[in-house]
């Protein structure tokens, strides 16, 4: 059981971080970003290439994070900005088109074989009272928690408050002088940073490839839904809970039911608490 929960916390941390990346962009830029996992994946692939080329671990990590951040900012400035006035539907489709294009681009440049990001602690294990704990798991869970705390702290800062104001009412925020465009670029950058972290964590403990992004993004959205697309805490807790539910269902019911159960969980959460676990304010209509 504990082994199951541990696995659940590990994958839950990826989901939670990706969910947070989605929520950050959603809050400040009002875009449901289906390309989030691919952004992280592009960055992580660059990292693994550097890693394989013999660049040592930490510089490769830094490059990965910088690329993820910059890529997201460029996407916002080049593609999303001028679509905003046409409503949500073109934005939603644009991120979908972007995810297809980025995914194909990765395949074209680096091929479709899965990759991993070798870390100094890769393959090392701990034995905690009969529980088999890998360092990769420890790193994932700790970084996930630190990331969530960091993002929460960011949203308490003056700039974070501006983002929350934009999330609550974009037009009013602009009227009183909040520069929504600059905030949206920052939010995209932050989202890209978090997504790169999530995918990189996945890559240091298992394999990532052009098709691992699809399930990651869905679970990320599930986590974001649990937080009502606004609550950071709800998203993080939702992601972790999702990971654990997945593993428990896989272990005690059937591995083929995992996906369906996760989806039904979302549905139930939405029906019982339309605003997510931690009910924030309602979201604007599409």
């Amino acid at each position: 059981m504990l082994q199951t929960v541990l696995s659940g916390l590990e994958s839950g941390s990826w989901f939670a971080l990706l969910g947070l990346a989605i929520v950050v962009v959603m809050k400040a830029a009002d875009v449901p970003n289906f390309a989030m996992a691919e952004i992280g994946l592009v960055a992580t692939y660059v990292g693994t290439v550097l890693n394989a080329a013999g660049i040592s671990f930490w510089p490769a990590v830094v490059v990965t994070l910088v690329i993820g951040t910059l890529l997201a900012i460029v996407i916002d400035l080049a593609l999303m900005r001028k679509l905003a006035k046409h409503g949500h539907f073109p934005l939603l489709l644009m991120t979908i088109g972007l995810s297809l294009a980025l995914n194909a681009l990765i395949g074209l440049i680096w091929g479709h074989e899965p990759r991993s990001f070798t870390a100094p602690w890769s393959g090392n294990h701990l034995d905690v009272g009969g529980l088999d704990v890998s360092w990769a798991q420890v790193v994932t869970i700790v970084v996930g928690a630190l990331g969530a705390i960091g993002i929460t702290a960011f949203f308490r800062s003056p700039m974070g408050a501006q983002m929350r104001a934009v999330a609550e009412n974009r037009e009013t925020a602009r009227l009183i002088g909040v520069n929504a465009g600059r905030l949206s670029a920052i939010a995209w950058g932050l989202g890209g940073l978090i997504a790169s972290t999530a995918v990189m964590l996945q890559a240091q403990s298992t394999l990532v490839s052009t098709h691992s992004a699809a399930s990651l993004i869905i679970y990320g959205f599930v986590a974001a839904t649990m937080g009502g697309f606004v609550s950071l805490f709800g998203t993080f807790a939702g992601g972790l809970a999702l990971g654990i539910i997945q593993q428990v269902v896989g272990t005690y019911i059937s591995t083929s039911a995992q996906f369906a159960v996760a989806l039904l969980a979302v549905f139930l959460v939405l029906m019982l608490r339309p605003g997510g676990f931690t009910k924030g304010m309602r979201l604007r209509d599409v």
Binding site: S7, G111, E113, L207, S215
Partner: protein
Amino acid sequence: MARTSHRVTAALLVAVLVSACGNVSSDAGASGDSGEAPPGITTDEITLGATLPLTGTAAVAGQGLEAGLRIAADEINAAGGINGRKVKLVLLDDGFAPDRVVTNVRRLVSQEKVYALVAPSGSQGLPGTWSFIADNGTPVWGPVSPADPKQQEVYLLSATRASQQQVAIDYFAEQGSTKLAVIKQDNDLGVSMKLALDLQLPKHPDVKIVANEDVQPGSTDVSSAVNKVIAAKPEALLLATDNNQVALILQHLRQRNITIPVFADQGGAGTGGTSAVGPAGAAAEGLIGGMQADVVSTDNPSVEHWRSLAKKYQGQQGESGFSLQTYSFLKAFAELVKRLGGDVSYANFNKTAESLADNPISLGSIPDIACGKLPNGHTCVQQAGLAEFKDGKWTVLRKFTPPK
């Protein structure tokens, strides 16, 4: 005005219907079973087609399959073609999506007018084309996946997944393993595994399946399946998954210090190549792969010959096991067409192919191709081999043998 237009419409409708009704009464094109000239063949060219997963979840395999076909075609053409006809390949990508496989096969047959489909590997969509294929009589030579041995037009040139899995079960039983575990995908891979278990378990009464887990196709989350398998303490593990999941499962197992032997079929293990063992890294040590074609690194002369050609290939996955497989299939096809002589009609093609049992095509790189008549004769090869990945290299563990 409106009424007049309605009348005109009605008249036109009737006219079109009457005049052209005959044209839509049969799906077959210019072909037919008689001695008519089949499509895709001229005095100096023969057009062959395939649908392959060049992108999507099975892209690694698809690129290898493409490579083999191209290498073989180049070699054949450099030597003057088949009976003087140069091979023209039309390879379409289906992205491993069943619906696109169906569209692609229509396109190959009706639009591109191919003579035959060689080594198509269109995920699980191929069964959706059998009735169309039957209408047109187009030979399907060596579909890599999935296999259906009951069609008149379809010739299976390598051991099916199920046959490979049967051979693996025989092998583990002989090694004295009594507790086997299974991880399979919920698609045609899983279906063939189920078939293999149903066929082979009655032959080994001691062998028990202690864990039988499903995983989502394309998912990277295999840990709960692995956890359950570990908890059941099996002596060997059979996989029916794609190569990514084979790599993931190996990593999870070895991380937990579980060293039981693991088997995957040719597609999953990428036997001979690196599609599974590359990503798995050190965890790949000891992986047992099914063999449809010989392993790529042997000193078998026919494989060596292929290897020298594959080294020069420009695209990706040229030196993979998939490449060797389709290379061999196309070479065998060329051999068969040579034997047809001047009569390239489908009737003669089928007659000649079904007589291969008496005079098999022997390439050396794959088991001898010995097709016969239906109901069972179109499964031209039943033998599968096993290879083990050891010290960074695939070595033959068991020569080609049919299942017990």
